[in-house]
């Protein structure tokens, strides 16, 4: 689960990590008042207005602006709150901004990176630090791997004092900074382990310009990002309460309520599968045969007929869906449950698009008999004998429809499929895939 920056900052504060004062505003007038308050209470000369969305890359999309007056804060907030914010991570439609954070500006002497994540390879929570802060840490990891410090932390004891000193000196802290940075490391490790975080990042962690009171400067956290382990939300009530339903896809939320795992994609072939691995493999199979999956949908191991019917509703609600592929290998999931849900869904919502069903496993004979009988009523239904047959049937059925509708040749579908899905992941692996790094830090 992800939370907003302002929530992550509050969490940091709760664990004692110093952050500059900031105030959340939901309208331009409040943003102006927030600036005035930062000015009068904290003697802030500058402030940063930051759009509160989960997606990273906000700076590039105009979601982070430096302001020098209350009036400027009002104007900047107005722009941010009035139109969707588009960043490299939001997709072209962007996301609606409902809150901005107005945070006091800080005189920065130097920026660092400090984070904690699960290192899957070792099974340890791992502190990740770098003296190269304020920039994309993945870029640093790729271009200067020696600038990244990794310290495995025991999930039993948490970070130990000698580890904090080791990391702090290697990051280049000196004098009073070592103690201050070490304290923040302990607090971050505490936060990570006590809140079941999956990622906790301070980027940048900064040292402020020296003053008479603080000749070594202060070590403070400027921007924070914290993600949490979904499996642990049951024992983290405060964390769960921070979730923002506005940031989630409505169809994905709806699916979650029925115990379904659903992710919306760009294609036009809806999928309904049991098991996450098989669901991914089914998407891959569709692509391999020149189609494009419209979604990932894992109905799980023991879904009820009701949940499977809801799954059909969710898939068919997407106007882009021009065909549906059902692929079930029944283990615990019984094939006749799926067959009954297909027949029920046909009666209730109707299948206006081709439906290809491939069933195997527990109670498959019974399920096949049920579907054979129902075929008279469900014209859209085709039964596939195996995986490959299923893929061929659904892709050709959808192409056929595409031809009729668009009045163009079926090769069009193929071009779209290859340009969209083949190139995107390939480009990603070219730029970052080789670098053997183990960071789980998300892109900013």
């Amino acid at each position: 689960m992800k939370v907003h920056e302002y929530q992550a900052r509050e969490l940091l504060s709760q664990f004692g990590i110093p952050v500059p004062p900031g105030i959340v505003a939901e309208n331009p007038a409040d943003a102006a008042r927030a600036f005035e308050e930062l000015q009068s209470r904290y003697r802030a000369k500058l402030a940063v207005v930051k759009a509160q969305v989960h997606a990273g890359g906000r700076g590039k999309g105009g979601g982070v602006k430096l302001v020098k007056s209350a009036d400027e804060a009002r104007r900047v907030a107005y722009v941010m709150l009035s139109k969707p914010l588009v960043t490299p991570q939001t997709g072209p439609k962007g996301v609606q901004v409902t809150k901005v954070l107005v945070a006091a500006g800080v005189d920065i002497a130097k920026e660092y990176y400090l984070g904690m994540a699960v290192d899957r390879a070792t099974g340890y929570p791992t502190m990740i630090a770098s003296s190269e802060g304020g920039v994309d840490i993945e870029h640093v990891a790729a271009t200067q791997p020696q600038a990244i410090i990794r310290e495995p932390v025991s999930p039993v004891t948490g970070l130990l004092p000698f580890q904090a000193r080791k990391v702090a000196y290697r990051m280049g802290f000196r004098g009073q900074q070592v103690r201050a940075a070490g304290k923040i490391m302990h607090q971050l490790s505490d936060l990570f382990l006590k809140t079941d975080a999956s990622l906790a990042e301070i980027n940048p962690l900064v040292v402020t310009k020296p003053t008479e009171e603080n000749p070594d400067g202060l070590v403070i956290a400027i921007d924070a990002k914290v993600n949490f382990d979904d499996n642990a939300l049951g024992r983290q009530n405060e964390v769960s309460a921070m979730g923002d339903p506005l940031e989630e896809d409505p169809a994905e939320l709806r699916a979650k309520r029925f115990g379904l795992s659903f992710i919306k994609l760009d294609g036009n072939i809806g999928c309904l599968v049991n098991g996450a691995g098989l669901a991914m493999a089914t998407m891959d199979l569709i692509k391999l045969h020149g189609g494009m999956p419209a979604n990932f949908l894992d109905v799980g191991g023991s879904a009820s007929e009701e949940a499977v019917t809801e799954a059909f509703r969710i898939v068919l609600d997407d106007p882009k869906v021009k065909g549906v592929l059902v692929n079930i290998f029944g283990g615990i999931m019984k094939c006749d449950t799926i067959a009954a849900a297909i027949i029920g869904a046909a009666r209730e919502v109707g299948f206006k698009v081709p439906l290809v069903v491939r069933l195997e496993g527990t109670n498959v004979e019974q399920a096949r008999r049920m579907l054979e009988k129902a075929r008279k009523d469900i014209k859209a239904l085709q039964i596939a004998t195996d995986l490959t047959d299923a893929a061929v049937k659904i892709t050709s059925a959808v192409k056929g429809r595409g031809t009729k509708r668009a009045g163009k040749t079926s090769s069009r579908g193929k071009t779209i499929a290859s340009s969209r899905s083949v190139r995107r992941p390939a480009a990603k692996s070219r730029s970052t895939g080789r670098s053997k790094k183990r960071l789980t830090a998300g892109k900013r």
Binding site: V156, G234, G277, M280, L285, E360, G361, T432, G433, S435
Partner: protein
């Protein structure tokens, strides 16, 4: 031969009186597994629906039955504790089916049991279908939720060949089993290592065992996006495995940054993409099945007969 479990393995079920626990205990019994009892606190002295004795603790169960393996169906919040209890009671093979265990709990389990060090008990899972050594009644051992009938015992294989299967996914394992069975290829043992980011046995642990098993003629490795375990497996295969290995990686079309059902199936920070895994496995000399529908036929060709 087989790895990890065989017809002599004595198995208990932790959480045997729950709906999943009792249902799958019966499934294992029906397959011929030597299920010898179960553990549920405060239900000691009773019998489960299959008539097996229920104990309050793993210690009592081990003392009374001599169990050497356990199958865990305990709810996620208590599953890590159940694993630790089983280990402390001296059970050498722990199969955890439970899905949804917090990753921090699993990191603590790994430390406490020194998993991965080669010492101590073996843990399969969590969030996995379990392990099976196919065999006609009494000769095989099924510990988990997989449908037994899709498997083909090695000594019943028409092709006289048998393979080992290692997989991060449940239903995709069944797919590989079914396809090989239909082509007359048996399975020595199938291990579902599970879809969580921090787990017990990994690909390499299972590869070591299959590589040393004389009856295993080939190995099917089914991976998915996320993590670097497939890359490590590729390195091991390149250096040590001379048997044919067929690999399939699920998630070529998965968008980065989205968790695909399994907690472990996520491409993040440029790591864990299907492309990098496939490249490593190909470089290690594995036979790559491009389609999940071709896992069986790819193995048949790799074993030297056409399918």
């Amino acid at each position: 031969m087989s790895i990890l479990v065989d017809g002599n393995t004595k198995v208990i079920c932790q959480g045997i009186t729950g709906s999943a626990g009792s249902f799958h205990t019966k499934g294992c019994l029906d397959y011929g597994t030597k299920m010898v009892g179960g553990v549920v606190p405060n239900k000691g002295g009773t019998k489960d629906p299959s008539g097996l004795p229920v104990f309050n603790t793993c210690y009592e169960a081990v003392e009374a039955t001599g169990a050497d393996a356990t199958m865990i169906f305990v709810p996620p919040a208590f599953a890590a504790d159940a694993i630790l209890e089983a280990a402390d009671a001296g059970i050498g093979l722990i199969v955890c089916i439970t899905e949804g265990i917090p990753v921090l709990d699993m990191m603590r389990v790994r430390r406490a049991l020194a998993l991965g060090s080669g010492k101590g008990p073996r843990l399969i899972g969590p969030n996995c279908p379990g392990v099976i050594t196919p065999g006609v009644h009494g000769k095989g051992c099924k510990i988990g939720i997989m449908p037994g009938y899709i498997h083909k015992p090695a000594d019943k294989a028409e092709s006289k060949k048998a393979v080992g299967i290692i997989s991060r996914s449940g239903t995709l394992t069944y797919e590989a089993v079914w396809q090989t069975s239909n082509l007359g290829i048996g399975q020595t043992t199938c291990v579902g290592i599970g879809g969580d980011p921090v787990r017990g046995l990994n690909f390499v642990d299972c590869l070591v065992l299959f590589n040393a098993d004389a009856q295993t003629d080939g190995i099917v490795l089914i991976g998915e996006i996320g993590g670097t375990d497939e890359e490590k497996a590729a390195e091991f295969i390149k250096n040590h495995v001379r048997k044919p290995v067929v690999a399939f990686i699920a998630g070529r079309t998965a968008p980065p940054g989205r968790r695909m059902g399994h907690a472990g199936a996520i491409i993040s920070g440029g790591e864990g993409s299907a492309e990098s895994k496939l490249a490593a496995l190909k470089d290690a000399g594995c036979h790559i099945a491009d389609s999940p529908g071709d896992i069986g036929s790819t193995m048949a060709r790799a074993l030297g007969f056409s399918a």
